[in-house]
Structure formats: C-alpha cells, structure tokens
Assembly symmetry: C2
Homo-oligomer: 460 residues x 2
C-alpha cells in the first residue's frame, strides 16, 4: 500500500459513518457482559467475547492466562513494518449505586445522541473504536497500512495486578513503534487531549474490628472500643485540612513539575467554570485557581477517601456501637513516588500512631509514568487530532488518572499517546456513563488516521 | 379483696405456667407486625393490635393521637385504690443487618428455650408480661388487687418525641402510685435488676454534601472538596482518643455521682469477665476496671459513632471522590445535662471549627432522670424480685440506657422501678434479639406480685 490520498480518507470516513450501527451493536454486545473486575463477574465470558470480536475484524486473537484474569492478545499485519500496540481492558468499574442510573447499566442503550452503559467509554468503546478503524481501512484500502497489536487486559479497574509480569514476560511479542493508550477524547472546548504520562495510584482498604459483635450504645459507649471511632481517628492522622498528607516521608521522592511541564500546563485551556458548573462547586480546594489549580490537579500527591462504612446507615436512629468499620482510600502518586514504598510508610505510620488494630488491604498500586511529550509518535497522534477535530490538541504533561503505563515505559520503552471517545462529563466510574455518538465517530476516524500515518511514514 | 395467702400465690404461678403457650402466641402476634418507628412501618396496625390485646385481657383501652405516632392507653380498676402505671412501647428498632439473623426477625420463633425476634424483649414481651400477670390474678383471685394503667407509646426507639407533651397534657389521667418501667430482667448472675434512673440521650445525624455528584478520584482528588474527608475531620474534633468530648461546655452541667450512687455502684456485681467474653474484648476503654469502670459506664457522658456512610462500600476498589457523607452520633447524657442545650453547643462547635457545611439532624433527645433509690415503691419491687428469683436485687443508681423517664419524673412525680424479662445477652437492638422462656415466666410472676403487694399495702 502506498500513500493514501484524500479520496481514500473521504471514503474511509464515509465507511465509518455508514457502518455506525454495526459498531454500536458490537459495543452493546460487549457492554451486556457485566465484567466488573472488583466483583469477579463475567470475566472469562467477556474475554472470550472480546477475542471473538477481534477475530471478526480480522485480528488473529488468543486468550492468554495470567496469575488472575486472562489477557486477550491480538495481531494483524500491515503493509508497512511499523506497528502500533493498542492497550485496552475488557473489565469495568462496579455499576453501584444502581439507583442513580436512568437506564440499565448493563444494557447499553442509545438516547439523545449518546450511548449509555457501564463500560461504553471505559473501556469497551475504545476496543470497538479501534476495530472499527481497522474495518474501515480494510474495506476501503484492501488491507492495513501498519501492523496492529492488541493487549487487552481484565484487571485495569482493580489495579492491573497481573499486567507487569505479563509484559515483562512477553517483551518481544509486544514490541511496537508506538502505543495507543486505552482512553482519550475531548475537553470541554472540544479539543482532543493527549496525556504524556499518568499518575501513580495506591488504593487501600482500612479495616478495623473492635469486638465480635455490635453492642447497644447505651451499654458500650463509655466502656467498649468503637470501630468507627478508631477508623475516624486513624483517618484524621493521614491528611490535614490544608490537604497536606501527614504520613512521614510521603513527599520525599516527589519530582516536581519541570519547566516544560509548567509550559504545557500554562498552555492548557482553563476548565474551572465548566468543572464548577458540572459538579456544583463553589470553589476549588484551597481556593486554587489558574496554573496553580492545574499544577495541583496533576503534580500534587492526593489522599482521597473513596468510601466509608460502619454500623447503621438506614433512616432515623439505631443506637448501636459498631464492632466493624471500613474506609477505602485512594492515594494518587506523582513521578518518582513508589507505590510499594508508600504502602510501607502508610503501615508504619499507622503503627507509630497506635493504630495496630487497623488492617491495611491493598487493592491497587501503580507508579507514575512519564512519556516525552515531544516524541515524534506523540506529535503524529497530535497531528491526526488536529485533522479530525479541526483544532489543536491539548497536550497534558500527564493525566490525572492512573494506569499501568509505567510497565509499558519500563519494559517496552515505546512512546505512548492516546486517541479516544470520551469527554469530561462521560461519567466514567459514575452512574450514567455514556459516550456521545459524534465523539465515537470522530474517535474512529482519528484512529484510522493514526494507523494510516504510521504506515506512510512511521515515526521516523 | 383481702390479703393473698401463699396458696393463692402458688395457684397464680401455676396458672402462669399452664397458660404459657397462650402468652407466647399473643407475643408472636405482636412481633409479626414490623413496627419499626425509624422506618414508619406498621405503626397504626400495631397500635390497634396492642389495643385489642389489652381489651382481650380486660383492660379498657383506647388509641390516643399525638403529633406523630399514637399512644395506646388502658385502664383496669382493682380492689384497692392504689394504682400502678405501666409504661411500655409498641415500636421496635430496625432489624438490619438482616443477614446476621438466624431466623426471620419478624416471625418470632421458639428455639432452644428462647423466643427469637425483633421486639420479643424490647418491648413487646413486656407488654405481654404485664397482661399475663393480670390474666393470672383475675383467674385465681377473681379480680385485680390494684388499679392498673397502661401508657404504651410508639416512638420510644426514635426518641419519644411526642411523649412529653402527651404526659404534660394528661397528668390527671396518668396519676398513679408507682410506675413500672418498660424494661428489666436479670444480670449475668441471675440477679434481678432495678434502675433508679436513666441516662439522657442526644442522637444526631451529621450530613455533608460537597458537590452535586461524585467525581472520579483521579480528577477531583487534589481539586474538589471531599464529603468523606469533611465528615472525618469534623468527627475528629468531637472526641479525642482519651474519650474526652471536645465540644466547649459539654461538661459544664454534669452532676457527678453522689456518695449514695458510689455506694450502690460498689455493691453491684462485676460484669467485666462476662462482657469481655460476650463481646470478645481484650480490655475496656482507657483500661478502666472495678468501680471506676462501673462509674464510667453510668456517669460519664459519651459520644458514640453509631454509623458511617460515604461513597463506595462494595468489594475491591472504586476510584471515586464522594459528594455525600453521613454519620450517626449517639451522645449519652448524665444527670443535669440538657439535650437541647447540648445540641446548640454541638452546632456552635461545628460552626466555630469551620464546618458550616455539615448539617445536624436530630433524631432523639432525652434528659437524664433520677429516681430516689430508697423510695418505698422501689423497695416493694425489690422485695418481689427477691421472692421470685431467690436472691437480692441489684439496685443500679441509673441505667446505662436512655428513655423518656425524665418526663414521668417532671410531670407526674411518681416513683419508678422495673420488672422485666431480659438478660444481658438478649440482643436488644441487635440481630437475634431473644428472651429466655424461663425469664419470661419469672417476669410474669414478679409482675403479679408487684400488683398484689400494691393492693395489699401499697407503698404507704
């Protein structure tokens, strides 16, 4: 295959638009499988369905075991030697709280120009987006311009525990000239976004049990230890109201934003108004604004309580003293912090503060990852974004989110960029997760252009 | 009716034993109605069923409206002028957590010598206990030895909000020479207990909402306020790890245990071993033991977190930043503290600490009440306990529990004591609430004796 002309591009775009229903039907098929990794639901079934879809679109696919949930691996060869590795995941976040959904979370439906359902964006829509691009390229040009590999894991929403050893073991198989990350999309201004990195994450559950049963609060209040109080006091030692994490040594390895990072941050459009409207916020934490708010959003370690549970939570009063309490705590890490080391520091801190009774259960851990924002592959992806969206890409020095990007950087050393179908109010991880159909179409078109450009010239 | 001889007493006891099945059947009938006040369930139905039972046992009964849930009032006259007022309640605690029950909470069943179900002890069993005593007295002696009145409310488990105005409005109707309180029973050593007072209670729900929806914790962690953190920090300002309540002025009006109180505390048997075994405790709060532990249990203001709720509480991880958080907090009050004033101090404290965003919703409030432990009516009840249980009564200066006793003391000025069917592991307010059948029988026998003795000599 030689250079693609504009006639081909128009034909590819037309093919995508004309086959939209087929792509949405395939997306619905995947979304009907409730592959909630945290709840170990429908994992094997979804891996198999994903493999089947890859095969349907001409990608030779196989299911490869890991220590826990299997990886779906796929390969399709192209005219050029250049290869793109697509990283995706077939697992999804829990759908709870169910009562806040306006439609069945696992029955993806189209309404008001969007498709709603758990996983439509994160991340099943991106799997379909890439397969649709392959479909259009093959239909219009008779083949693929570049080699395409798929690494689709099943543990992304629970910390990708099996992925790092999998990548380390299959370095040769996974070699490529660039990696398309699992997410992407546009910001509030409709500008496509590229993230040259991800934050790290340490997600833990703190559990305390102070007795073998709940007591009447009239009996135990001044005599028995109270699990809810133990947890509250322990949590209060983790972070103060100035948002400073109080665990000794937490900031020791923090690498601050570089001058180039600050340059990229300055160039990003402000999303303050939109965020305030969307979430109904009066102001941001510590009243931060402007570049400082952007810096805090991406380069400040965080400690977020994601869940609290103890005792009676129903209406009215129940006079009990709870024997058990639980908190979920999500720490986001910045470059150079080590999730493993910080877990040790957290445990040591709790012990030092007298909270030996609090169990720390780890549910996820990633180190932060950085990609050179000026790498040619990143530039190539940025150019295709400009082409499809008719405006320049917003290049973020890192995503606020977390993922196993560090494993790709460390083991495979390839440049990474992203093309996607989301927008800020897509509701990833929240009720009523959705993707706008227009974003879905544009994501497919941009993905097709990335494959085309890789076949034409690669990143050389 | 004249003095009752021991033949009559034996016949009364025999009648009680022979009609046990009937009394248990009536108890099951009441317990099948899930009259959970906190959830506004089956209230009118249960009031009507209670009225019907009173009528069945010859007590003229009527349902009297209040601002919220109705009172069932009953009267039966006796040979003597002396009258006993029975205070009870037909509402119950929520049955949650349902999964911890070994049988249906609202289908009271007899198993292993006990009857299990929500309300079998607290408080429907006590209503039946009193009616059974009336039944036996009428059957054996042809009538009642003293007048008996019933005041059975429907809001005891949610703070008796309508009771104080009801009592104030019906002082004349409610006049009596002594009041039998709604609970009672034996301690771990099988000694019947009398409580010359109750602690006060202030039960509040703290609620905070920081946004109009949950956010992804990767987005909001260092930018958005977090409801769970706001709640945690606010709670941590309420009490320190030395169990000292930090709200300014909380201890201002505390009346310490008197020398007579300390004398009564000293005389009480130790329950430390039993409590430690039952609840699986290594030690008590602040390592208290002996008389100090007894004093703390009854004369120390408490601040108990009864429930915590925010964000994701399911298995594994969900990376959200919650927009809402809630805590239920149960403060127990000692004599001379005012629930109303303390509520004001709590609100002021939260405002002073910068927690204007935290809503305080009151679910209950009682002031503490004290009864003269040496009053003749209390002595009469104690004597009947010795008679039935063949051991001296344990006379507590106050109960650790709370109730609307202060309204009786303030408006009616009558002595109060208690006879009952519980024991320390009855599971009041907990899963598998139960009453031992032997305790049920003994409670009826003692109640019959209290009515008899009131008819014989009263408290003069």
């Amino acid at each position: 295959m030689t250079d693609v002309n504009t006639t081909d591009l128009a034909a590819i775009d037309r093919h995508i638009e004309e086959h939209l229903e087929q792509y949405l039907a395939d997306l619905r098929l995947l979304c009907r499988l409730p592959s909630v990794a945290a709840q170990s639901r429908s994992i094997d079934e979804t891996a198999e369905a994903t493999r089947g879809l890859l095969e349907k679109y001409g990608v030779a696919a196989t299911i490869m075991p890991t220590a826990r949930f299997p990886v779906v691996y796929g390969e399709a060869s192209g005219t050029a030697n250049e290869t793109v590795l697509c990283y995706n995941h077939y697992d999804v976040q829990p759908a709870e709280p169910l009562e806040l959904w306006d439609s069945e979370p696992f029955d993806a439906i189209v309404r008001d120009g969007s498709i709603f359902g758990r996983g439509v964006g994160d991340d099943k829509g991106h799997i379909i987006c890439r397969l649709a691009a392959i479909d259009a390229l093959c239909a219009v040009t008779g083949g693929l311009p570049c080699g395409i590999k798929f690494l689709i894991e099943g543990e992304e929403e629970i910390g990708s525990g099996s992925l790092d050893p999998f990548i380390a073991e299959h370095k040769d198989m996974l070699q490529a000239d660039g990696c398309l990350w699992e997410f992407g999309g546009v910001d509030y201004d409709g500008r496509p976004q590229i993230f040259a990195g991800m934050r790290g994450d340490l997600y833990v559950e703190l559990r305390v049990r102070t007795a073998n049963r709940d007591a009447h609060s009239g009996l135990g209040g001044s005599q028995f230890p109270n699990a809810a109080w133990r947890l509250t006091w322990a949590l209060a030692t983790l972070k103060n109201q100035n948002e400073r994490i109080l665990i000794p040594g937490w900031y020791d390895d923090v690498r601050d934003a570089s001058p180039r990072d600050m340059e990229l941050l300055e160039a990003l459009p402000s999303e303050e108004d939109r965020l305030q409207r969307t979430y109904g916020l009066k102001n941001f934490l510590l009243d931060a604004t402007g570049t400082e708010l952007k810096r805090r959003a991406l380069f400040e370690p965080t400690c977020t309580i994601s869940g609290l549970s103890s005792g009676y939570q129903g209406p009215g009063s129940k006079t009990i003293l709870p024997a058990e309490a639980m908190a979920k705590v999500d720490f986001r890490l910045v470059p150079n912090q080590s999730a493993e080391q910080l877990l040790g520091k957290l445990k040591q801190h709790l012990a030092d503060q007298g909270f030996d009774d609090i169990d720390v259960i780890q549910h996820g851990g990633y180190d932060a990852a950085r990609v050179d924002p000026d790498a040619p592959f990143v530039q190539l992806v940025a150019d295709t974004g400009w082409d499809v969206y008719d405006r320049p890409v917003a290049l973020h020095p890192t995503s606020g989110g977390s993922g196993p990007m560090d494993s790709f950087v460390r083991h495979l050393g390839m440049p990474i960029a992203n093309v996607g179908i989301g927008y800020p109010d897509s509701g990833a991880h929240a009720p009523n997760e959705h993707v706008r159909i227009d974003d879905f179409i544009r994501g497919i078109k941009q993905t097709a252009r990335v494959f085309l450009r890789m076949g034409e010239s690669g990143t050389r």
